[in-house]
């Protein structure tokens, strides 16, 4: 069963809108960390297959960083944020106040920096959604990886215990500080029942 084919355009709009709100909060929290203005492009949200997700982010062996949190409560599933290699280094430079181009690999310090950014951003996203939809959603301590995209994605799908679920809600974002672009992909992998609950909470017939 795939949920994607069963959602109406109005329901997808509601999910896009809530994604927009969630990511707006995530961008604000990043701006606070950097103590500077962060611009955000209009997020693009859709349900896609894993193969498609891998293609969009850049291929099976693409080096990416990923921060993930498990969701419990009214919504069960996982959220994860993926930054490509360049954006990852750029974020580290910004956060540590380094000149752009300084970071070219992630040491332990840089990893914990990215983990923290991802943690704060996914946390802001989740709390915005739970406030807006009036749902109780708790999130776990984040986990982090910096490696091949496919290796990371499959490990996440397995960890969430839904190996036969082939669709994720993918939300593509671009964040800007001045003219510097940070490309990120935010994904929500939730049980179909959870998406139904979310839509119902938003006042839509699911």
């Amino acid at each position: 069963m795939t949920i994607a084919g069963k959602l109406s355009e109005m329901q997808m709009d509601a999910l896009r809108e809530i994604s927009n709100i969630g990511l707006g909060h995530a961008a604000t929290s990043l701006a606070e960390m950097l103590a500077s203005k962060i611009g955000m492009g209009v997020p693009h949200a859709e349900f896609i297959s894993f193969d498609r997700a891998i293609q969009i982010v850049g291929g099976y062996e693409k080096l990416v960083s990923c921060v993930s949190q498990k969701l419990d409560g009214d919504i069960t599933g996982i959220v994860f944020y993926i930054f490509d290699e360049t954006s990852t280094y750029r974020l580290v430079d910004m956060l540590m106040g380094l000149e752009e181009g300084t970071t070219t690999w992630l040491d332990e310090m840089a990893m914990s920096t990215i983990n923290e950014i991802g943690n704060i951003m996914t946390g802001a996203f989740i709390s915005a959604i739970s406030d807006f939809a009036n749902l109780r959603i708790s999130n776990s301590v984040p986990i982090f990886a910096f490696d091949m995209l496919a290796a990371i994605l499959t490990s996440l799908v397995i960890a969430v215990g839904r190996p036969e679920e082939d669709n994720v809600l993918a939300i593509e974002t671009q964040l800007f500080r001045d003219d510097k672009k940070i490309s990120g992909h935010f994904f929500l992998l939730a049980e179909p029942e959870s998406i139904t609950k979310l839509l119902t909470a938003l006042g839509l017939e699911a």
Binding site: E61, P163, E164
Partner: protein
Amino acid sequence: MHAIHDAQDIHVGIGEYKVAQSPGRLVTLGLGSCVGVTLWDPVTKIGGLLHIMLPNSKEFSRINKKGKYADLGIPMVINEMVKQGAGRGRIQAKLVGGAQMFIGADKKQLLFNIGERNVESSRKILKDMRINIAGEEVGGNKGRTIYLDLQTGKVTIRTIGQDIKVI
């Protein structure tokens, strides 16, 4: 450098398997906690590659791709190889993958340790089927891409930021 993509490469997707005869290579990209099982008959040079995601299908009620599960996938590949002419008693296996990709303070998620369970389950099934394990490159915390050379049975392993390894 070896292990660059080649037109003759046959790609095996996540949770899938392929069987083929030399020449050429069977390839699967980006194994994380998944395990790549290569099976190869040195006489007919028929080989199989399986990209396992989970150790045991019995833990799940709804199954659409049998190749995702070690307990269903391994026997399927072996049967398919034998059907194509491989000698069952000559087949040798190699296991690659089963990494722990994530770091973090969440012990519950870390302890889930699916990679290790995938490796253990694969070993047990191969042992039960009396298939010899000729090589392993498992565990650790790096994603791996593997190539099974159908001519030699050698498995080339690529990881990001490390040297290429051949087993």
